[in-house]
Assembly symmetry: C2
Homo-oligomer: 215 residues x 2
Amino acid sequence: MNPTISRPALILGSGEDVPFTAPTLKNDNTLIICADGGAKLARTWRLTPKIILGDQDSLDAPTKEYHRAQGVVFRRVPTEKDETDLDLAVEYALQQGATSLTLVGAWGSRIDHALGNVELLYRLALMGLPNQILTRSHRLSAFCTRFRATAQKDSIVSLLPLSPEVTNVRTRGLLYPLNGVTLKKGSTLTISNVATATEIIVEMANGVLLIVMQQ
Amino acid sequence: MNPTISRPALILGSGEDVPFTAPTLKNDNTLIICADGGAKLARTWRLTPKIILGDQDSLDAPTKEYHRAQGVVFRRVPTEKDETDLDLAVEYALQQGATSLTLVGAWGSRIDHALGNVELLYRLALMGLPNQILTRSHRLSAFCTRFRATAQKDSIVSLLPLSPEVTNVRTRGLLYPLNGVTLKKGSTLTISNVATATEIIVEMANGVLLIVMQQ
């Protein structure tokens, strides 16, 4: 795998809380993967996935037919498996050399799945891979070391430690700046900060942070 | 404070995902606290809180009037504060000697708040205090050492490590039992287990676990 080639992955799950429109694919090389019921969302958004992973029981016939007509590969995975469908999709993306991962349909009425998908971001952060979950109104990313993103001015930006401690946190572009503080897991002190610039930068020495940006 | 006296706290927040009916108060001594907009929910459920904490800007006049007529104490907290409203309510409950904490209105469209409320459970777990968030369809609890709960047979039960590692996990009453395994944060392997009994027991040596039970 040539590490200079960017290979973003867009993974579609079956969680209900999804953006109103499909994310813009800035890269022709984007690998689109559906985790089971996410195939319905791909159809709604007229996206052609490379593969649909799942037990297929939750896919209606028209959705299956739509994707079959476009030659999409279906890979059946057993209903009784250890990992979640989205976890399998993330693993598939990594095997295919994904260099950044966007998860959609990763938040909804199944709270355990939603929280499990935040765990996937945590795992990707530990691997140093850019990652995000997009919902109708939020963007979530986990990271170590450094995070940089464009933000809407005046929008709410929250930071949540995923590791027991996150040390020497410094921010730019936030109303209540952090200047080298240590954040402890379990605290809500860094919830509801506010973007004062269109570029936000968060840096830290050690630990894993989750950033939740309203959009 | 007499440690032999059980003092449950019921904290009502303004998250939209709430149970269809009010939790049954099994203890006359239950301390009911509203975090700001949670006062609306208290009114809907005809519960009389001991106190309403918040900036009051999000409370409509009829809700204020309803609670004032019952002599409820309002404590105004500044809009610009470090902790979330629910965090302040939890701290108030602890000051009043709460021995267990139930959070309702702690899950909804504000994803950062929802995740922050899971952090509150984590903090309470570290203190050894029984805790739970109740939503329309789930019950979430964080714990160290041991958790015991009644469950609906065949309902989905998920476990998620909140600490980097949870060691020597043992379960009873689950379809896929765990017998002394170590769970690592970031894994989805213990999502979607199934209750096979009406009593579930989870024990571990070290770490903090979150249990998410469908109900």
